[in-house]
């Protein structure tokens, strides 16, 4: 009789352990996939930049400092290896692009250029998508961390060698989406 009770308890424990294991793995996959979402948008931004710089140069060729700054951050982003390096470079690029668009304000002809308007909308919406993707990533990280730091996940996290993942910092200024006019 006692043997049966022990066997039943062991079986229940084993089944719950499998459930917890699967949950931790699927949450880990989820936040890693969430990162790839951010990566897609970062690549898209890198692709848009040469076109943007060419367009702006057509009207404001002498604003060399800001072009160099954009080029540097683009290079840094393309060379980034880890999640943190990418995030760092992406923040730099956001700043550089912000200054580029601020300069564009001084050139009415540039602002009226159709291609420039299109690129400005694309880039600001890429920024927006990055912000959303980052929010999604942080939510996923939070769920994963909660799962491995609370009971019962905490009992398995050690043997599975899972460590808490790091949140991405959201620069305060970035939640402000640049105002762009779409009239006409």
């Amino acid at each position: 009789m006692a043997t049966i009770v022990v066997l039943v308890i062991l079986a229940i424990l084993a089944i719950s352990a499998v459930g917890v294991y699967n949950r931790i793995i699927s949450l880990e996959n989820r936040f890693q996939n969430a990162w790839s979402q951010i990566d897609v948008q970062l690549k898209r931004r890198v692709d848009l930049i040469p076109n943007l710089v060419e367009t702006v140069k057509g009207y404001a060729a002498h604003e060399k400092t800001v072009f160099e700054e954009v080029a540097r951050s683009r290079q840094a982003l393309m060379n980034a290896k880890s999640v943190n390096e990418s995030a760092e470079a992406a923040n730099q690029m956001t700043g550089a692009l912000g200054r580029l668009f601020a300069i564009a304000e001084n050139y009415p002809e540039l602002k009226a250029n159709e291609n420039f308007k299109m690129l400005q909308e694309e880039l600001s919406s890429v920024e927006n998508k990055i912000a959303y993707a980052r929010q999604f990533y942080n939510d996923a990280v939070l769920q994963f961390n909660n799962a491995i730091e609370t009971i019962p996940g905490v009992f398995l996290a050690g043997p599975m060698s899972k460590k808490a993942a790091v949140f991405l910092e959201i620069p305060e200024a970035e939640r402000e989406v640049p105002k762009v006019s779409f009239a006409g």
């Binding site: 699927s26 909308e121 694309e122 919406s125 927006n128 912000a131 959303y132 929010q135 999604f136 996923a140």
Partner: protein
């Protein structure tokens, strides 16, 4: 159990006004269950009506009547499940948006979809100056969002995000599937009722009774008649009241979920303010799809309306702004 499209939203949304906590996974599961149930109700109801019709006219052919009605009900359910989105979009006069023409709308929708953790839905535009929007489809993988030209023109980016997030919440919560099935069920009952009423008008019933005229059979037929009329008249009324009651909670929940997706309740609140103060022409759409819109396409927004499908706009704004 992992639900498709469950994403990383919290499973529990707290209603800002009442402090009541609603479990989103339960809500989704209930929507899916209710959708199945509606399909079954559609079959059962039509079967019952077939049976009653047979009793009134010719009890010997009951099996035939019930089978035909059951098959029609099943067909109706299948059509509702697979094609209701196309029907609703067609009824609203929506056409698919292209990135070239509606770059702004497409970008905003893509961004919100990333935040909500659902695939980007198909995006449609309705050519009307009245600002409005709705979502349809059977699940997050087959969802469509339609907005009017007036909405795009009137809203700034954060407001448009708020509206799109509200619709995305309907998608994620499986409200769209439930509402489509409900619309189809009600539609089926209404059509049947109209058919039978017309049939009575032409006196088909009187003719069959005088021909047979059995003992005791008359009383049975009388009861059946009452049941038939009750079913046909009360059915749609009850269904409508149910739909209205359910819709209001659904809208509050979609507002709360939408605010969570954008992390910006003010965007949706300010969009609702603009929607509420709009005084121009209404949006002409058929009755069957009216309840799917973010705000009632025809209503003048003053006072509390018991039969409104949507909660009063001011109440929704207040709930979003209460933190």
């Amino acid at each position: 159990m992992t639900l498709p499209g469950a994403g990383v939203l919290p499973n529990v949304i707290t209603d800002r006004a009442t402090g009541r906590r609603i479990n989103l996974l339960d809500w989704q599961a209930s929507n899916r269950r209710m959708s199945w149930l509606l399909g079954l109700i559609m079959v059962a109801l039509l079967g019952a009506i077939g049976y009653l019709l047979a009793q009134v006219t010719n009890p010997g052919s009951a099996l035939f009547f019930v089978s035909v009605a059951g098959v029609i009900g099943a067909g109706q359910s299948v059509v509702a499940y697979w094609f209701s989105d196309q029907l609703a979009l067609g009824a609203a006069g929506a056409r698919e948006a292209t990135k070239d023409e509606h770059r702004y709308l497409v970008n905003v929708t893509e961004a919100v979809a990333i935040g909500a953790g659902v695939p980007t839905p198909h995006i449609y535009v309705i050519d009307s100056p009245a600002p409005n929007a709705f979502a349809t489809g059977r699940d997050p993988q087959h969802a469509s969002i339609a907005v009017t030209r007036g909405l795009i023109d009137m809203m700034d980016r954060q407001e448009l995000e708020g509206v799109v997030a509200h619709e995305m919440a309907h998608v994620r919560n499986y409200d769209i599937r439930f509402l489509s099935m409900l619309a189809a069920t009600i539609g089926a009952i209404v059509i049947l009722r109209d058919l039978v009423l017309r049939w009575f008008q032409f006196g088909a019933f009187g003719g069959s009774r005088s021909r047979r005229g059995g003992r005791g059979n008359n009383r049975g037929q009388g009861i059946m008649m009452v049941l038939l009329v009750a079913l046909l008249v009360l059915g749609p009324i009850l269904a409508t009241i149910l739909r209205l009651a359910v819709s209001r909670r659904r809208e509050y929940l979609a507002d709360a979920t939408g605010a969570y997706i954008t992390r910006n309740p003010e965007g949706l609140a300010s969009a609702l303010e603009k929607l509420g103060s709009y005084q121009g022409d209404g949006l002409e759409v058929s009755e069957g799809v009216r309840h799917m819109f973010i705000v009632n396409p025809l209503a003048r927004h003053n006072g509390v309306d018991l039969f409104a499908t949507h909660p009063p706009i001011q109440e929704r704004i207040d709930r979003l702004r209460r933190t």
